[in-house]
Symmetry: C2
């Protein structure tokens, strides 16, 4: 199964380039994933959990350096248009169990986020979407539904653990699953 | 059919709030769409073409005021989870013809962009995706395929016209279609 992501970090300050480059340097290029950056996004290819870990690490580093910092990510697994796997098959999560987002240690980075889930190639895609929204609703980071997406709020690690759990849950029912995720830290309109 | 988008504009400078608020004020709130903003994104609800026009107008205003400015947008039409339409049906484009992106007047704003297309509820979703990638390839703004998305480069108006044409093309084959789009203007790593 081909698994990876395109993600981009935006830093709302004049020194944005230093913040982003500093964060990327701090993370380095882990040996177990492939990374490539252009002016639009950074590609990470690797197992789904590692991909989310690397994105979390880069974004957390940028958050620690910057004020208002956002993340946009496209996560994809099992896409039949990708090179290594012409056939998509649903996959059970590692160890057969989806980790509980509440069990994850907090990072001390409060964020708000929204994500949308696309189980591809199914006639009843909304059945999978609704069951994964229920999974998110059962966590402490669920805030509310919005048009086209689900809004979360809480510590960055718990928010991403919730998204990761929904990604695993959907992947056990669909071979090709995509998630789009937006995260924001330090927005001045946070309390609006 | 319920149609709309969630979009967010990021301005990589200390005066980001003024740039964004100035752009939003310049556009106002057109009477034929519904708009709502929170700290993560702005919702626009309206016919697909108008939704793209409003997003283009907001982003163009911000680009004219700022240096490095990015746009992230989730466009959705026909989602069966939305309130007004329990059944999705494919729709022919207005007037039966998809406008030619090359016929659109340029704005003088050069951008690079990437987008991904999700025709939902189809067992052969990749057939629709590949035919719409072919449509993009036939335009002057096509740059290349990337993992999980298609990269475009050119004037903002032509880039969005290309995305809009693929959105219409997919919607004639699938009732529920989603596009995710990232656009970047003025990135310092543009020539990297």
């Amino acid at each position: 199964m081909f698994s990876g992501a395109q993600f981009s970090i935006s830093v709302m300050s004049d020194d944005f380039a230093d913040v982003i480059l500093g964060a990327i340097r701090a993370v380095g290029e882990p040996e177990d994933v492939r990374m490539e950056t252009d002016e639009l996004s950074t590609l990470v290819v690797g197992p789904p959990k590692r991909v989310i870990e690397v994105i979390q690490q880069c974004y957390a580093e940028a958050c620690r350096r910057g004020g208002h910092v956002t993340l946009n990510a496209l996560l994809s697994r099992g896409c039949p248009g990708e090179p290594d796997d012409p056939i998509c098959t649903p996959q059970e999560p590692e160890g057969g169990v989806i980790p509980d987002p509440e069990s994850v240690a907090e990072l001390g980075i409060p964020v708000s986020a929204q994500f949308s889930l696309y189980p591809m190639g199914l006639s009843d895609h909304m059945g999978v979407v609704f069951s994964e929204i229920e999974r998110a609703q059962a966590t402490s980071v669920y805030e509310k539904g919005k048009h086209f997406c689900t809004k979360l709020r809480g510590d960055l690690a718990r928010v991403l653990a919730c998204v990761s759990a929904c990604y695993e849950g959907a992947a056990s029912q669909a071979g090709h699953v995509v998630i789009h995720l937006s995260v924001s830290k330090g927005s001045p309109s946070e309390s609006a």
